[in-house]
Symmetry: C2
Subunit: 387 residues, 2 copies
């Protein structure tokens, strides 16, 4: 087990009606707020009205940034920064899913920076001073509500890039499972895949001696496998939504990655390239790519860990590691398909036209992955197999 | 799943030589420190000298409180409070195991309180202002390094009582597994039992729909079962010590209890009565009492959860819940015995002389437990079965 520092101060307000408690949390930092959200869904559901009332009752002034898109765009970030500067905003509240939260993190890091905020995403600038943020989560998927990471898309350059810092962890996050009752089946399934993928990225590494982290990771994976199908049948099953929501936050708040070097993240990087060009739902892209990646990296060095996954999560009994690994990969693909997630790029109308661009982009900063290092040719081969 | 608030800001510095980083952590709060520890073991190991050098190099002034005993006594707490007041101490650093940490928490809550600090433990006073604390852990057992709980013994009244508050969570804790290499077999085994017992207390409840919490709990239990025997054979196995140390903190930092009403805690309360009179090692007392408690509470309402434990942790395949539960309880007892922990009070020279006093004491504030409520007669029956 590697040395690690674990510091996750985000206060989680979990359960029904916890949103009524946010004004006292916000007022620790100031009473001038940027309220950021996506499309009209929070207006239809009534959540927007509830939040506005809580802020007004708390004597909190706010300006609004709306229309943040899935795969949030750098233009929204720049607009948010402008609003924060013009209104001396002291705190940013994001109401929505991972896209809204990633967007407010970008705004948070950009307000006090002289240059363009995209600099943070192309590693030209380092995150320094940030505005405190809080979130009201409406989608269980990205884990952004309890971590310091942010992914932003730039249509001009056709790039989707990540930046992050511990200082960007939300000060609080409201996790009310009932807000996710209205998430449609496609987004719900994509969320389940996203959560599982976050675990995969941290689980499939060459680190040794991380038994407790792996056992916790396996428990979170089993939670997803247990409740995924329930959610497609019963979208307003509180227990299922609650377990997925908490699993989602725990999957990417640092817990399962402690004691490991870094994680793999090759599949995420590849998916970012695909969705940067095609605006594909992140979880759907991961459902296509992960089983292909697992098959591609399976060799003597990776078989034992893939077999451990297969046995502990899927109950595979094969004693041969390679065979166990293959059976576990097959179960994974079958599970994603049972959630009506696509199994190939072709199913979502993506052909091979941009494979070369995507392979170049994925390896822009060098080879991908830690479980098995992947160069441009490997990425190209994986994307081709995924067609 | 019940509503919950989860806020665990303790910064964990995990791994080799992390103690060298504590002065910057302490200086956030001040440069006048109380350095608290137990017996001579940290002087023998050289850890005391290391800590002193780090403090001196950091320009930190300190006074010392030594001789804190296992099952820490209220006298040490009072002495610590006096030292803090006389020296305008701004931060308390505890170097040791759970006893030292529980003692500094008591000091922390008592410094600014006008009355006697024992008031907090008999529910006569509420914790208000606290001094910030930090820890350098030398024993994997109590989880005190990442939570806000404290247990103190009062020889005058023959009581061992708990108090706690989130504000008492250490600001940082250094978890260096190599400091536990020299922990003897008895204390190591008692620590493993203590960690498992913390999970049991939060796992065996009547709460419904806490799949993810339970899956994580089962993962931590499997970690203990995997590494417990390794540690008795290879006390300086870093991987085994590291996994037990991190498992220990995660077992009682709130993680596995989220979404549940409270936990059971009957067995801990009973054990506190025993060790208040007999000064028994806490983990050894728990090893005796837990299997007896499991057998005693097994009925129609508790069998499903005990069977879940048996199947998911011990791989029991019995389909009947009662039978599965019984087999799991037998495995639990067998495992504790394999760690050379006692299986009866008689083995540690405790007879039935004080059972009536202990039963009265355990139920001082009302019936025990949530999994199954236990009155005085139940406690008496359990202690008698444990003889």
């Amino acid at each position: 087990m590697k040395n690690f520092t674990y510091e996750v101060p985000t206060k989680i307000l979990f359960g029904k009606n916890r949103v009524t408690e946010i004004s006292s949390e916000i007022l620790r930092y100031g009473n001038k707020v940027l309220l950021a959200y996506g499309g009209g869904s929070i207006k239809q559901s009534g959540l927007y009205d509830t939040v506005v009332k809580v802020l007004e009752d708390g004597g909190i002034q706010f300006v609004e940034l709306s229309g943040i898109q899935p795969n949030p765009r750098i233009e929204s970030v720049r607009e948010g920064i402008r609003l924060c500067r013009e209104n001396d905003v002291q705190f940013i509240l994001g109401v929505g899913g991972g896209s809204v939260i990633d967007c407010i993190k970008a705004i948070s890091m950009g307000v006090d920076y002289k240059g363009d905020v995209w600099d943070f995403y192309i590693r030209k600038a380092k995150i320094d001073k940030v505005l405190p943020i809080g979130t009201v989560l409406t989608l269980a998927a990205t884990g952004s509500e309890m971590n310091g990471g942010s992914v932003i898309s730039n249509d001009e350059t056709q790039e989707k890039r990540a930046a992050g810092d511990d200082s960007l962890r939300p000060r609080f996050s409201v996790l009310d499972p009932s807000y996710t009752f209205t998430v449609n089946k496609w987004q719900t399934a994509a969320g389940v895949v996203d959560v599982m993928s976050h675990i995969f990225e941290q689980y499939f590494t060459q680190d040794k001696g991380t038994f407790v982290q792996d056992a916790i990771a396996e428990g979170i994976l089993k939670t997803c496998i247990h409740y995924g199908p329930v959610l497609l049948e019963e979208p307003d099953n509180y227990e299922a939504r609650a377990n997925m929501m908490w699993a989602s936050s725990l999957a990417l708040n640092g817990l399962t990655g402690t004691g490991k070097l870094f994680g793999d993240w090759a599949t995420h990087m590849m998916e970012h390239e695909v969705s940067a060009i095609y605006d594909l739902t992140h979880g759907a892209g991961l459902a296509i790519l992960f089983p292909v990646w697992m098959e591609y990296v399976l060799d003597e060095t990776t078989a034992p860990k893939l077999a451990q996954y297969s046995r502990n999560v899927w109950g595979i009994t094969a004693t041969d590691d390679r065979q166990a690994a293959q059976e576990g990969i097959a179960q994974t693909r079958k599970f994603f398909t049972s959630l009506n997630m696509p199994a190939s790029l072709g199913e979502v109308d993506i052909d091979g036209a941009h494979i070369s661009t995507m392979s170049e982009g994925a390896c822009k900063f060098g080879p991908l992955g830690m479980f098995k290092k992947l160069g441009k040719e490997d990425v190209s081969a994986i994307l081709t197999k995924a067609l």
